[in-house]
Each structure stands twice: as C-alpha cells, then as structure tokens.
C-alpha cells in the first residue's frame, strides 16, 4: 500500500510541478515580450494571478454539456500525457523516487495520439457554443495541425527507425550511452521538429487559432471564469509536456530539476523569439510553411537516418 501512496504523491508532485513551470514560463514570456516592446510589463507571476481571478469569478456560463466538458478533456489529456512522459532521466535518483509514474507503460506513438485528445475535446466544446468564431478557430487549428504534424512525424520516424525503438526511455538511454544528444547526431530531424514546435506552441506567427483581432480569441471566445481557468491550467501543463518531450528526445533528458528547467527554457525561447519578429500568417500560408522547408529537412533527416 505504501508504494501506491508514494506513487500518487509522485503523480501529484509531477502535476503541480508541470503546472507551476508552465505558468511561470508563460509569465516570463509576457515579461520578456514587454521588455522587448520597451514596456515594464507585468510580474512574472501574472498568470497565477489571472488564474486565481478566473477561478474566483462568481458566475459562469456554459452552452450545453459539451461546453461544460470541454475544459475537462484538456486537463484530462494533459494529466494523462504527463503520467506517461519521463519528466527526468530514468537513471537519475529523483526519477526513481518521485517521477516514474506510468512512463514504462506507453510509447511515442501513444503520446502523439494522446496529445491530440485534448484539442479534439476542446474543439467539441467550442463547437457547441454556437459562436461562429469558435468553429472558425477550430478549423484553423486542425488545419494547422495537419501542417506541423508532418515535419514532426518525419523527425520522430527518423529517430525511431534509426535506433529501432519507439520508447522515449530507450531514446534517452541511447543518448546517454553515446554521449551525443540527438540534436547533434540527427541535426536535420531536430531542425524539422523545432520548426514543427513553432506551430505547436501557437505563438506568433502561428497564432491563427486564437487570433484576437480577427476571431475574438477563437475557440475559447465563449468560455470565461472557471472554464477558462481550467483551460489555462491544461494549456500550461501541455506547454511543459511538449518542452519535456523535446528535451527527452533531442537533448538527452535531464538528471535534475534545475537542468530540466534550463533545457526547457532554452527550447521555449525559440518559438517566443521567433514570434517577436513575425506578424501573423494566414492559415494556408502557415500550412504551406510547414510543408516547405521543415518537411524537406524532415525527409533529409529520415534519409540520413536510414543510410
């Protein structure tokens, strides 16, 4: 029984850490964006304040049962993926104590599909609100997903075919043995995945889903209060998940939490930096962007991985 108690505690700890890191990164981004624009900007804890505010709204509305469920799909998907992703390196002491969760019971393909689960649930909820902006946002998001999944999958296929494994732990172990990170041993695949991450994080120029000026924040336009708060939480956890996945696959994982933070933060800055200097694309431009050079890099990566 003790073992199960410890596991539940570990799972809780993982969730809280993912949530806190995701939210703080969001806050840091807001602060940095402000500094780039020559502003003072909010505190880096602003996202937490926003969240508390959203949760302390006195009234909330929903547009039917799918609308009520929408944030739950997101948080469910986020928590589930978090349980199956190795947050730290399996060889580290921290990992075996606190973060093993269920990481040995899922693999990369499963994670890819599980990450879609939340967006689809969210899309259903957004659809039920009846707001045309929501549906337009969803169609844009799904279209963009078809765009960036191709370079991303090409990158992953290169890794999986080259090292004959679909498990993240194995890929981390391989990097450990060879001492070379995947981002150096498979640079083209890494680049393809990095380009795909631009779309995944939905920062400018790929913020076509929420585009506040055109779509009034798109899918979430009818959600407020606690619903928006839960979505924000789920989104933050997802940001952490994506970063951790990239660190695990391409940067050899992390042995301790500070190392994880440094690596994820460095990765996180890529889409943020890219966003500062780029205006928003149209949907078809975004899709074509991903089907252009990133896909070519991905194909190159696969070819190099095989021969």
């Amino acid at each position: 029984m003790e073992g199960i108690g410890l596991k539940i505690l570990g799972a809780l700890l993982t969730t809280i850490m993912a949530f806190a890191v995701g939210m703080t990164y969001g806050g840091i981004t807001r602060k940095l964006t402000a500094r780039v624009q020559n502003r003072v900007g909010p505190t880096i804890w602003q996202n937490f304040i926003d969240l508390v505010k959203l949760q302390s709204k006195k009234t909330n509305i929903y547009h039917g049962v799918m609308g009520h469920f929408a944030p739950m799909w997101i948080i469910t998907a986020a928590m589930t993926v978090l349980m199956f992703i190795p947050v730290l390196h399996p060889n580290s002491t921290w990992y075996s104590t606190w973060f093993p969760n269920l990481t040995f019971h899922g693999d990369l393909i499963f994670l890819l599909y599980m990450m879609v689960f939340g967006s689809l649930g969210m899309a259903l909820g957004a659809g039920q609100t009846g707001n045309p902006n929501s549906a337009i946002g969803v169609t844009r998001g799904l279209s963009q997903m078809v765009g960036f999944e191709i370079p991303f999958v090409l990158a992953l296929v290169a890794l999986m075919v080259q090292y004959k494994t679909t498990s993240i732990q194995d890929i981390m172990a391989i990097q450990d043995q060879s001492g070379v990170w995947m981002m150096f041993s498979n640079p083209f695949s890494f680049l393809a995945a990095l380009f795909a991450s631009l779309g995944m994080f939905r920062y400018s120029p790929f913020d076509i889903v929420g585009a506040p000026a055109e779509l009034a924040s798109g899918p979430v336009s009818e959600f407020g209060g606690k619903y928006l708060g839960v979505m924000m939480t789920g989104g933050s956890i997802f940001a952490f998940i994506k970063l951790t996945l990239y660190v695990d696959l391409f940067m050899g994982g992390a042995y301790s939490i500070p190392e994880l933070l440094i690596k994820t933060f460095a990765l996180y800055m890529v889409p943020v930096f890219y966003g500062w200097v780029s205006p928003r694309y149209r949907t078809e431009q975004a899709i074509r962007y991903f089907w252009g050079w990133p896909t070519a890099l991905g194909i190159l990566g696969v070819i190099i991985a095989v021969w």
Partner: protein
C-alpha cells in the same frame, strides 16, 4: 441437414419470403428480414465451434463448403452487423416504398457474403460473389434515382473485378484441373502454377474493387451515399470486407506462405506487388481523406472515409508482418463496428430531420443525445484517439510500419489520419453542434429499435478500447489459419517486435481518474453561479441575432486547408476515367472513318499496306 447449407437456405428463402410478403403489406418484409437474420445468426452461433464441412457435386462440379477460423472471423462481422442492421432497418425503412425488393436484396447479400466466406471452391465462391454484387447493385439503384450517376459506376467497376476474377479462375483451372481452393493452395506450395503472378494480380484486382482501392474506388462514394442507411452500414461495414477477406487469402496465404520464398524471381515480384499495393493503400487513404473533408453531405463524407479506412487495412495486409496483419484484421473488425454505427447514426438523423446535408443541419445534440453519443464514440474510434479501440488498430499499424522500415509510408498514413481529424470534427460539428436551428426544434430522438443497435456498437468500441484481447482472440485463430505460427496477444497490453508496449488498462484508468477529478471540480465548484445558456446567447459584438438567423459556421468549412492543399485536389480519378472514355470514343470514331465506303480508298489502303510491308521486310533483311 448441414448447418451451413441450412443458413444459406434460410437466407435465400427468407429473401423470397420477404419479397412475397411485401405483396401483402409493405410493413411485413422488415419483420421477415429481422426474423430470418435472427434465425441465421442463432444457428451460426449455436454451431460455429464444431468442425463443419460440406461437399457435394452439381452437374459434375465439386462444391465444398466449410468453416475455418479465418471464415469465422469474418462471419462475426457479417452476422453481428447483419442482425443489428436488420433490427435498425425495421423502423428506419418504415415509411419507404418498395420494401419487398429492398429486404429481398438485403437478405440475399448477407446470405451470399456468408456463402463467399464458407466457399472452399472457386465456383461457389464466384457464384456467391456475383449474387452479392448484384443484390447490392439492386439496392444502390433501389429507389430508381441516380442510376446513371451512381449505379453505372458500381456496375462497371464490379464488372472489371468480376472479369479479372473469372479469368484468374479459368487460368487456375487450366493449370491444376480443379476448382478447389485447397488444391490451389497446395499447388502454390508445390510451385505447380506457371502464371502464379498473373493469377494473383487478377484475383487482387477483383478483390480490390470491393475493397474500394485506388484507382478502382470511384464507385464507392456514389454507391454508399445512395443506399438506405440500414444497408449502408452492412455495405461499408461487411460487404467491403469481402475484398479484404480475399486480399488476405492472396497476400498472406499465397504470397507470404507459399513456400516459394527461396525462388528469387517469385519473391521479388511478390514483394514488389505487395509494396505497390501498400502504397496504393496509403495513397487511397490520403486522397480519400482529402476528399472526405470537403464533403457537405454527411453520408458522402462517411463514404470517402470508408475508402480511407480500407486503405489502412490494405496497407496492413500488404505489409504482411504479424503485427501488420493483426492490425489490418483488427481495423477491419473495428471499421465494421464504427462505420456501421456511424452510418446508422447518420441514417437516424436522415430519418428524423429529412436530410444529411450538413450545411442545413446544426445543433441536434439536444434533440438527439443518444445519436450524438454514438457518433461521438464512433468518431473517436475512427480518429484513433485513445482510449477507444480505434487507437489500438492505429497503434499496431504504425508500429508495424515503423518496425518494418516503411518510414515514408508511415508518414503518409500519419498525414491521412491527422487529416482525418478534420473530417471527424466536420461531421460532429456539422450535424450536432453549433446553434440550434428553429426548423429542427420539433425533432425527436430516433425510436428505440434504431438507437439500441447503435448503442450496442458504441459500447463494443468502448470495451474493446481497454480490452482489445476480446477481438484479438478470433483474429489470432484466423491468422493461424492463414499460416502464421504462434501469434501472441495480450488482453490489455499492446507490444511490438522491438519490445515497446502500451498498457491500455493504465491508459483508461488514468484518463478515467483525471476526467472524474476534473468533472467533480468543474461541476461542484461555484455551482450556484453556474448556469447553462442557449446557443443563441453568444457574444457577437453586442449584435443580437434574430430568431431565424443561424450563425453556425458551415459553408466552406476547411477552405484554408483546401487552398493550402490545392495541388492535391487538382486531379480527380473520375475525371481521368472520363478522359480515357472520351479518348477511346474519339479513337473509335476515328477508326470508323477509315471505312469510307469508297472502293478507291480501300485500294489505296491495300497499296499503302503493301508498301509499308515491303519497307519493313527490307529493313529487317
């Protein structure tokens, strides 16, 4: 009397009875069909574990019928879907005319499908195949409309398939002198057939037509969308699986386990054919998905999606590794289940609302909650999102492709299944979400006899999402019949040859726990201040939509995607066929002009021919 013959007899006499009973009342055939299917199904399930075989000879031809494990696997699909579809059909067809001919053909096609899978000789196989084709064709043109547009394509393509198959059968007979299937397999083992490749390819063409493989797929969207929904679920769910059944036999039994792997030429050609077929499957999946997501009609969308899903199955069979075949057969069963459920759900919408045009319907979720539930579950399974069973099949397919080194094919498959999210959302949103239409305010949920079959299928998807072992067991037996040895499977754990695995029990538990936590939190926190509002109450920059105004976004749903993927939409197979037909017509027209009817012209032809001959002969010398 032998049970197999009895079942066939029941179905065929049931068909006659259904037609005759329609002369008494238009409502009777439905019940006759239900009774017939029930009797047949009960008979089958009472006896399928016993060894059964039957052989007899008519006019000097030896016919053999038998049950084996591979057959039983497909019989599950046919009878499971058949009985649910006929239960569904009673209320669905309630107010339609000409039920007699519909039900007669319905029963004929179910009976003939069973006949196909139990046939152990080419003669009865082909006869049943043709009965199946004709009965389904008669249902496609059943309501008398759209013959030219829909029926003709189906007939033409089926004819191609049938001729190819007939040629192959004649060739086989000329080589081995018998029509027996077992004799054919034995001859393959002994390398006694000279034209094996030709025979196989011809047979494959015959099966590919039914499995709607590119470029022989064009009949499918037309035929699927033109049949009544109660039959479409059988049509797309079970009938198209007959193609898969046959392809499985050829690709696995003949190509893979023919004992000719040492023969270099043969191995090269068979592998080449498999690869071509796998890629055709991949392209089928991708193109059909692209076409599915631009459809406005829900039934047509599902029809294209069926083609795409069959593409995955063909890939699995063509790759031919243990995991790949397992995934193909698993997907075949799951496709029968979720596509059956989806066609039924769309049929329910069609019956209650009167149309399946998604631009005219929206916001049915409150009116038809059960239908929505079924559609949601089936769509999640179709999209392959965990924790439903569609994921199991997709996972195995990906792992099979990756472990087998088909790395570009896996990207194509991934592309089409990601694009499948688009049409999955399209159909859910188009029918059930969005603002509620005032025209559909009176709509009620479909009657119970229609809802129950759908819900049963949906529950099956949920259960097998966590316990796919239920389905793995018959599949493993079927695969052993095909020639695989020691097929391993686990109740809840999926694993590939590299030893990577997914534990589905943990997955569904985690999802369940997380979902319950979120549900409790969101439902009980601030419950007093939370209220539901109507879908008309949306923030529209303060503007107030009038009662009759519906703001749901339905037209040109994926226009940006279409624009981005415009080059992929340029070519249409139908157009190519039509171009070929026009070209041939022009050619024949030109040939006709040769015969001018003028003796002088013919004289010139003769001279010209002689001169040409002279030149050619001189050059050769």
């Amino acid at each position: 009397m032998n049970t197999l013959a009895l079942i066939i007899l029941i179905f065929f006499s049931g068909a006659t009875l259904a037609y005759l009973s329609s002369l008494i009342s238009n409502k009777l055939p439905g019940w006759v069909a239900l009774l017939t299917t029930m009797t047949g199904t009960v008979l089958f399930y009472m006896s399928f574990q016993n060894e059964q075989a039957l052989s007899f000879s008519i006019i000097g031809l030896n016919l053999e019928w038998a049950l084996d494990n591979y057959t039983i696997l497909f019989a599950h699909i046919i009878f499971g879907l058949g009985i649910l579809a006929s239960l569904y059909s009673v209320q669905y067809m309630q107010n339609k005319s000409q039920q007699g001919s519909f039900y007669a053909n319905f029963l004929l096609s179910i009976g003939s499908m069973f006949g196909i899978i139990i046939s152990k000789d080419f003669i009865s196989f082909f006869i049943f195949w043709e009965i199946m084709t004709w009965s389904s064709f008669l249902i496609v043109v059943w309501n008398g409309i759209g013959f030219r547009k829909n029926g003709i394509w189906y007939m033409a393509m089926s004819a191609i398939g049938a001729y190819a198959m007939l040629t192959a059968i004649v060739l086989i007979n000329s080589e081995i002198g018998t029509y027996s299937l077992q004799a054919f397999f034995n001859a393959v083992q002994e390398n006694a057939i000279d034209n094996l490749m030709l025979v196989s390819i011809l047979l494959l063409i015959g099966f590919a037509v039914k499995a709607a493989l590119m470029p022989l797929h064009i009949w499918a969207p037309r035929a699927y969308s033109n049949t009544p929904a109660s039959y479409t679920s059988v049509f797309s769910g079970a009938l198209s699986k007959m193609g898969v059944f046959g392809m499985g036999l050829v690709l696995i039994r003949v190509f893979r386990f023919s004992g000719l792997q040492d023969n270099f030429d043969y191995a090269l050609v068979s592998q080449f054919t498999s690869h071509v077929l796998a890629w055709l499957g991949g392209i089928t999946a991708a193109i059909a998905t692209l076409y599915a997501l631009v459809q406005k009609d829900a039934k047509k969308l599902l029809a294209y999606s069926s083609i795409a899903q069959l593409g995955y199955i063909v890939i699995g069979l063509a790759i031919g590794t243990k995991l790949a075949v397992m995934s193909a057969l698993f997907l075949a069963i799951m496709h029968a289940v979720f596509k059956g459920a989806l066609f039924m759900a769309v049929g329910a919408v069609e019956r209650q609302v009167g149309t399946t045009d998604m631009t005219k319907i929206s916001g049915l979720i409150r009116r038809m909650p059960w239908t929505f539930f079924v559609t949601l579950v089936s769509i999640i399974a179709l999209a392959g999102v965990p924790p439903l069973s569609g994921f199991v099949g997709k996972w195995m397919l990906y792992e099979a492709l990756i472990t087998n080194g088909n790395f570009f094919l896996v990207v194509v498959v991934f592309f089409s299944s990601t694009a499948a999210f688009l049409y999955s959302y399209r159909i859910l949103f188009g029918l059930f979400l969005g603002q509620e239409e005032d025209d559909t305010a009176h709509v009620k949920e479909a009657p119970a006899t229609m809802v129950i079959p759908m819900v049963i299928l949906a529950l099956f998807l949920i259960v097998t999402g966590t316990y796919p072992g239920i389905v793995f067991e018959p599949i493993a037996h079927g695969m052993e019949y095909l020639g695989f040895t020691d097929v391993t499977w686990n109740m809840t754990v999926l694993s590939n040859v590299w030893g990577d695995s997914v534990n589905l029990q943990y997955v569904s538990t985690t999802i369940g726990v997380a979902f319950m936590l979120a549900l409790i939190f969101l439902t009980f926190k601030g419950r007093k201040g939370t209220r539901g509002v109507s879908t008309k109450d949306i923030s529209t920059s303060g503007e107030i939509p009038l009662e009759h105004e519906n703001l749901t976004f339905q037209l040109d749903f994926f226009k940006p995607f279409e624009r981005a993927a415009a080059p992929l939409y340029k070519r249409s197979i139908t157009k190519i066929y039509e171009d070929v037909a026009n070209g041939l017509e022009a050619l024949f027209d030109f040939t006709r002009k040769i015969y001018t009817g003028n003796g002088q012209t013919y004289a010139i032809y003769v001279v010209a021919f002689l001169v040409t001959l002279l030149i050619v002969v001189q050059n050769m010398l």
